[in-house]
Structure formats: C-alpha cells, structure tokens
Assembly symmetry: C2
Homo-oligomer: 128 residues x 2
Amino acid sequence: MNIKEVATRTGLPAKTIRYYEDIGLVTADRAENGYRIFERTHVHKLAFLAQARGLGFSIEDCRGLLALWEDRDRASGDVRAIAKAHLAEIEEKIAGLEEMRATLSDLVAACHGDDRPDCPILNRLEAG
Amino acid sequence: MNIKEVATRTGLPAKTIRYYEDIGLVTADRAENGYRIFERTHVHKLAFLAQARGLGFSIEDCRGLLALWEDRDRASGDVRAIAKAHLAEIEEKIAGLEEMRATLSDLVAACHGDDRPDCPILNRLEAG
DNA sequence: GCTTGACCTTCCTATAGCTGGAACCCTTAT
DNA sequence: ATAAGGGTTCCAGCTATAGGAAGGTCAAGC
C-alpha cells in the first residue's frame, strides 16, 4: 500500500504520515523504487495515532500510549495516568478560555459598535 | 526608564518587550550606550498589549487594536468587530475542548486503572 | 516509444509567540 | 581591579504540521 491510500484510510495527510515516520512514531518499509510500503498493521497504528491526536494528546503522549498499546503486559493504570493528566490540561485550558470568553462577551455586549470612537473594549484594555 | 523596569511595571518579560519592538508593535528610543529608553507612554502601550494578549488576542489583532486605540477618529464598530471575531474563535476552541473533555472524562472513568492490561481507553483509540 | 498526469521522494521554509542561551558591552559598588 | 547586575545582538528551539520546489516513477493512451 502506498502512502496516499494510507492517508485516505486513516484520514491523516500524507505529509503527516511522513512526519510521523520521521520522528519515529511509525516505521515503513521501502520498495525498490524508494516508495514507502505500508501494511495493514501500519494503517492500524496510524489510525490509533489519528484518534489519539484527535483527542488532543501530544505527540509525546501518543508515543507513550502507542508503547502501552503494544505492550501486552501493560498496566491500564499507566494509560489512565496519561489520559488523566491530559484531561487536567484540557480542563485548565478550558478554564482559561472560559474566563476570556466571559470578559470578551461582556465587552462586546457593552460596546455599541458604531461610528463613534468611544469604546468600552479599549477602555478596558487601557485600564487593565 | 530601562527595560527591566518596564518589564516590572507591565508584567511582560524583557525578552517579550524586545520582541514586540522587533516586530514593530512598539518603538523605543536609544541612549548613547545603546540601551533602550522607555517613557511612560511606552509603558502605557505595553500594558495595553499585555491586557490584549491576556485576553487571547493575536499579535496581529493587537496591532489593529493598538492602531484603533491611538486613532481618535476610530469607529468603535471596528474595535467591536475584532473582539467579536476573537470571541467566536474562542468559543470554537472551547467547543472543541469540551468535546475532548467529555470523551476523555468518560474514558478515564471507565478505566479501572490497575495493573491489568485491559483498558477501555486503548480500546477506544484502537476502534475509533 | 513517447507523453501526460498522478503519484512518489527529499529537503527547505514557514507558521505563533515567545524562551533560552551564548558572547559581549556598560555601570556601579567595593 | 573586579564582581554583580544591568544591558545588547543574534541564533536556535519549541509544537505539529503545511507548503512548495526539484526531481524520480509508474500506468495509460496514442
């Protein structure tokens, strides 16, 4: 299977697949002409990565998850720890964004948004 | 005023202030010895930037906001448009993160997280 | 056999917004 | 004279790709 087909099957751009090979997340054999050859196992792995990335796991997290996934002697606690830490990060991010959203939405509501220069948004940025 | 004091007053790292000068967000005069000299107006401007960045506005947004702030003939509608667009972006980000959070929190809850290899988190990543 | 178009390859550059560090200059106090 | 604590420039690195150039390859159609 060539890279384009893997891209289609996994939903990952070919560029990204090459990148993942580059940083050692996946391996790929080569044909005589230099083309990468992928087997179903590779597709499986890349699909796994696509899912993990889709849930926002960092590349390094993915590396860890992948290793655990392939380790039949893994402890599910290790997987859970990674996911839990990631969940905490996401919740932190959300909290930060919620705060911004609250402030911004107040400001946007307070600004009449016409041709006059008077503007509560700028006032707020100016005053802190 | 030297850069360190400006940093202290605005809460921005000196590095960041230099960077902002570099990309033309602010200007700074120079003393004979090559040191940057800041006036109160510079501090004011940098404080404004710190606020805007704190609300998540991009550097380019900040450039626009700064220009409007300094334009006595501005239309508040222009400010509002920038803020509104930014608000929309933030809400989109929040929505994406909320989705991740929901999934992750379900998975973390479903995983017993012990020494056994069986793991709903990995199952989910594997299955899509 | 030749051309065309769709693949494939590598390598270099760019993104956002800084941060860290090296190598070096200036000022002030001891 | 020296040491501490400023300041300067410049270069590299971070995340996770995306874009594009330059070139090799393959299958189809004429």
